[in-house]
Symmetry: C2
Subunit: 362 residues, 2 copies
């Protein structure tokens, strides 16, 4: 079978060695004679998996002691509702600040609006999300419960390359499409969360990292499983957790440690993104979607001269085993998601394909 | 490796052929060169998986056309909150009726109480959940939004062997530990739901089957992903679904069809339970937890003469490759969960072990 490179935005490719390990121990986890997905979430063998995943995440992020690591059902989108339910009461008027830098940032405040008074303090919608808007300290109302940002825009590829100063207002970050892709100082955030299905594991669950002083303030009408305080009390086992997702995430975290940690993977990510952006910048054929200073390293979105050429590009790329390069249904174009697990070889294969395609179709 | 029989209550064993198939196609789903967990929930290949799972569930249950099949994050426990959020407004006073037949039935009304006026109309708590209480038509207030029952008690092993008449009040059933284990007339229910992790697949997600006239009434403050109307509109893809859970459930449903469907598996389940209950009933050594007329076929809970003998039984059973027979932490004793996937050979191995143990330790 020819090697397929998978550029899907998520659920995304996982490290090859992790996928192999899952396959190898699929029918016999840890010598138990049964699969990891067939044991109780309260079995000591699963508890070890959970604790090790939390420990390894803490190591990888240099996470301060006063932050809790939770696994919450439903991916990042469920947290769009859970965040105001858990935190809006911090503000007397339930005012929660949001920045709109793309579709998911917009959905975050749309879902939140049922539970708090949403105030959008900045947006890059009028320039089609080609940048991260500037957020000055004066824009951050100090009576707000929190300020919510989406640090990496999966669809457009933009990224906060510096974070806003928020004073006493906790900064909350959806890091779904870039978590553990670069060194981040978690102590600057009240809460960071991410759906697992891009840089960490399979879909259906989110990791939520929250400063402990932000717990204990959930609204009375918070569904039990969306209550972060309850999740912390039960160490994410209030009910049957998504055991497969936590197990797989644990393997990915161990793989990251084996790669040398986040600083090491960050260098690789920068090198990978540079290959594609250098090609785009030196070409008249490909046009990047994002202004250079706001580019991230995870999602490289670009256009070809015409929609017809983009369709042809996607078709030929698929035939060349370069999978899932189609841009998000809301914007079209081409998007190469090159998360931690994407090897440089995949990026180089894509770059070669792009150059050949441009030559043949100019 | 010696064959291990897994009697865990959930996450539980899955059919051996399903586990083998997952392993075989783990790195290459449907010739795509990538894993099922590495493709988009919006890829046509995953859409086919989802639609086939829904079709097969419909076939297996003879589900009437006016019922929708949803996959909702968080397992059955999340629905404990979602149900009143989606349905309580049907009653002017938001009155919702509950029957307490065990721990999960109790949690269902505990979680619901934040969103509705819970009225417990019957309970078997005072006889330690050894039975299903009688529910007469007069007990079902006709101004209630719904009546909620837990059709099979995972911890004690009791089961509704007939269902209450509820008049115009929709009957809602948590079928987590027995779904598709016996023929049930779904047209008698407004909604049936189940966490996947016992009879259907891995943990983290629930299947929710709901009559379409019950949609469209969710409370304004319903988290987007707990809104059944939204889930129906988006065919369970409002956000990234737990693709692995839906895929695996699809394989289990196909396996069930291959076994001859629910009527065929029901016969096998009755035969399996009979082996254990006949042994218990003919013995002075083992004591069943549930009154015979309320026994189900999925969870067989019993005691030995002393707690010391139970501890010894569990230890020796483990050494004999009979795994996870310990009763729930809230009650102790022995529990053999013998879901659809447990072969008769496993039940016979357990019965032989029980007889030998009783002989040696009387």
């Amino acid at each position: 079978m020819a090697k397929v490179f998978n550029f899907g935005a998520g659920p995304a490719m996982l490290p090859e060695s992790v996928m192999q390990q899952i396959r190898e121990e699929w029918l016999d986890f840890s010598g138990m004679g049964v699969s990891i997905i067939e044991i109780s979430h309260r079995a000591k063998e699963f508890e070890q998996v959970l604790l090790k995943a939390q420990d390894d995440f803490r190591k990888l992020t240099n996470l301060p002691e006063n932050y809790k690591i939770l696994f919450i059902h439903g991916g990042a989108r469920m947290q769009f509702s859970a965040l105001p339910l858990n935190l809006a009461r911090r503000s007397e008027s339930k005012k929660c600040l949001y920045v709109e830098t793309g579709n998911f940032a917009k959905l975050a405040n749309k879902d939140a609006a049922a539970f708090c008074d949403v105030k959008v303090i900045a947006s890059s919608a009028d320039t089609n999300y080609d940048r991260i808007p500037e957020i000055t300290p004066e824009m951050v109302d100090q009576d707000a419960a929190y300020l919510h940002i989406t640090t990496n825009n999966t669809i457009y590829g933009s990224r906060y390359n510096s974070f806003p100063e928020t004073g006493a207002v906790p900064l909350i970050a959806d890091q779904t499409s870039e978590i553990l892709s670069r060194v981040v100082d978690y102590s600057k955030f009240g809460c960071i969360y991410a759906g697992l299905q891009k840089n960490l594991g399979p879909s259906g669950t989110a990791i939520v990292v929250i400063r402990e002083d932000l717990l204990g303030q959930a609204a009375e009408k918070t569904p039990t499983l969306l209550n972060y305080t309850q999740a912390d009390k039960d160490n994410s086992l209030t009910n049957t957790a998504n055991t497969f997702a936590i197990y797989t995430t644990g393997l990915v975290l161990q793989w990251l440690l084996d790669q040398g940690g986040v600083a090491a993977i960050e260098k690789q990510n920068e090198a990978k993104a540079k290959v594609l952006y250098d090609l785009i910048d030196s070409s008249d054929y490909f046009r990047g979607v994002i202004l250079p200073e706001f580019r991230g390293t995870m999602n490289v979105s670009f256009n070809l001269p015409t929609a017809e050429l983009e369709a042809q590009f996607l078709k030929e790329a698929g035939a060349a085993n370069l999978y899932a390069l189609k841009g998000h249904r809301s914007v079209g174009g081409i998007r190469a998601s090159i998360y931690n697990a994407m090897p440089m070889a995949g990026v180089e294969a894509l770059a070669n394909f792009m150059q050949d395609f441009a030559k043949k179709n100019s």
